[in-house]
């Protein structure tokens, strides 16, 4: 048969009508690219500034103050804890509340006046190497400007030595950061997408009407639907952690039990999120689109791909409601920094809250009837 424009017109016409009728897909195709372009375009910044810093300076003198001022003037550092002790600073770093700890030794001022070349220690959180690299690179310039006035003109004395130390990952191995993060991202992709189909499959195959006609409560149906996926998630967790340990040599500094407990709370939050999607979507196609729609910010705004602290406040707030954000902090904290229960309790609390909220919403959204 020869090519027929009439037939082609009929085919095109039918396709466009169907595309227009499927409102959700249509909205996704037009609205989502624009929204995501604006969202991620403004949110992502790979050279974060104003990073929280703890200052450990037992003796408050003008040298310490001028160094602190120079740090802040560089734009990279914001001294959030100016009067920290060494112990406090250590804990703040483990919990991820500060990205840097600056230690000015007690005898720094005395040695400066004596004309020695004393040291200042700057410890950077190396669990995310890309986030702190810009700030570390700027250190020598900062020291120069801080102590310029203290060095007599024409003197042979040089500025004090700044010792920069990347904690947890001194060689800045990217895998140490990426592999624990991948744990969260891979789980997010598979778990949410699989459970998002849970109810829509019943609806599409026409079995939902029958299921509703029989005596099963919404909570029973929900638990019945998500438990198998929890099992699958648990297997995935073991596979990824095994690979992280055996293939990528990622250090396991903290407790494995604590890590597994945290990851399983995260997986529970994910399957509930997926289940919530499946109570809203009418077809499996829609469920998949919604799952992908949530997946993108989980990669881009969670601190997985780009430094969390580099994002503006509104984007960080958005990142805080994503389960992956909290999992990344938890996993990096336990695996790389050896964080204990007290250090990751906020992440547990955040994930547990999400479990409660998502579970409640899913149960409320579940329609017991076909109305």
């Amino acid at each position: 048969m020869s090519f027929s424009p009439t037939r082609l017109r009929a085919l095109l016409r039918k396709e466009f009508i169907q595309m227009r009728r499927d409102r959700v897909t249509f909205a996704m195709m037009l609205g989502v690219p624009i929204m995501q372009l604006l969202l991620f375009g403004y949110a992502i910044n790979s050279d974060p500034r104003d990073m929280p810093t703890a200052l450990v300076a037992p003796v408050q003198d003008r040298f310490g103050r001028s160094f602190a001022a120079a740090l802040e003037n560089s734009g990279y550092y914001r001294i959030t804890h100016p009067l920290a002790t060494a112990d406090q600073a250590e804990r703040l770093m483990t919990r991820g509340e500060v990205a840097f700890v600056v230690t000015v030794p007690a005898d720094f001022g005395r040695r400066m006046e004596r004309g020695d070349r004393p040291q200042i220690l700057v410890e950077a959180d190396g669990s995310d190497p890309s986030a702190t690299s810009g700030a570390v690179a700027a250190l020598s310039g900062i020291a120069e400007s801080a102590f310029r006035r203290d060095l007599p003109a024409g003197s042979a004395r040089t500025a004090p030595e700044i010792v920069a130390h990347r904690r947890y990952n001194p060689e800045a191995v990217t895998q140490y950061n990426i592999v624990p993060g991948l744990l969260g991202v891979i789980l997010q992709m598979t778990m949410v997408m699989m459970t998002a189909m849970a109810l829509t499959r019943e609806i599409e195959r026409g079995t939902m009407e029958n299921l509703l006609a029989m005596p099963a409560t919404p909570a029973e149906i929900m638990i019945g639907k998500i438990t198998p996926f929890l099992t699958v998630g648990a297997v995935q967790v073991l596979v990824i952690l095994g690979a992280a340990w055996a293939i990528f040599d990622v250090p396991f500094a903290g407790s494995l039990g604590l890590l597994l407990a945290g990851v399983m709370v995260f997986v529970l939050a994910l399957v509930l999120l997926g289940y919530l999607i499946s109570t809203a979507a009418r077809t499996q196609m829609q469920a998949m689109q919604i799952a992908i729609f949530i997946f993108l910010p989980s990669v881009l705004l969670s601190g997985f791909m780009f430094p969390f602290r580099g994002m503006p406040g509104w984007a960080q707030a958005l990142g805080e409601v994503l389960p992956v954000t909290h999992l990344l902090r938890l996993v990096r904290g336990i695996m790389l920094k050896g964080a204990g229960w007290a250090d990751v309790a906020p992440q547990f609390a955040a994930l547990a809250t999400m479990v409660a909220v998502l579970g409640t919403l899913a149960l409320l959204r579940f329609r017991r009837t076909l109305d």
Partner: protein, 302 residues
Amino acid sequence: MTQATAIDVTGLTKSFGGRTVVDDVALRVAEGEIAGFLGPNGSGKTTCIRMICGLLTPDAGSGSVLGLDVRRQQRAIRRQVGYMTQKFSFYEDLSIEENLAFVAGLYGLPRQAVRDTLEDLGLTSRKTQLAGSLSGGWKQRLALAACIMHQPRLLLLDEPTAGVDPKARRQFWDEIHARALGGMTVLVSTHYMDEAERCHRINYIAYGRLVVSGTVAEVIAGARLVTLGVQSPRPGELAERLRRAPGVEQVEPFGTALHVTGTDRDRLMAALAAEGVAGRPVETSLEDVFIRLMEQSQDNMR
């Protein structure tokens, strides 16, 4: 009322998106009765059944199903009702036995119930076959088995025999009658007239309204129709002419014969005489009555 009622609802109304699908329907089904539910496509049969078994909440109306409030005790009703959906709605990727075991688990029945049901409905030999690979008749039998396994007091069947061959249909109806004898109440929707005639009572619904109910004989008598049978060598042409004749409501070909139906015997005879043919009285069929009811309610809607 000497007999207890299984279904007793009045004023049942339901609309979807501003379109009233079921409008002020009253329905009464006695216990142990097989009630037929008839009406054209889209007349609201399925919606009615779903409201009765608690899958849809009525916009208005009240009543009781098995003595339970149809609006407030939907969950209790579901436990005692077996509902067979119009479309096969069991799991095609599970075997017959696995499907039944699932249903048994939801109703809290012992494992023995599955074996008994398989045996009762002659499914034992095929119990490991996946439901998706079953033919229409076997699927229907599986669906029926799953709906009656928990011994419901009321069985709601929504066009259960669509696409099922005559032998399987007959077996199906034998099964239904056996259950009714055992005290189960059955409400069955259908398009087949022979099935309607197998029901104790029939209820005819059109455009969301209940038009008539009664036994088959009552419904036929109530329509006050007269039907005459005419033999003709060229029934097609005769039918064309008779359809336009005054006093003739319906002309249905039956092989070489025609069944001519009207409301007035004299006018009907006159119409036949004008064509030079003689008619002999035959029984008015339920189908003739329903087509007349359908046309009447259509006129009422306009």
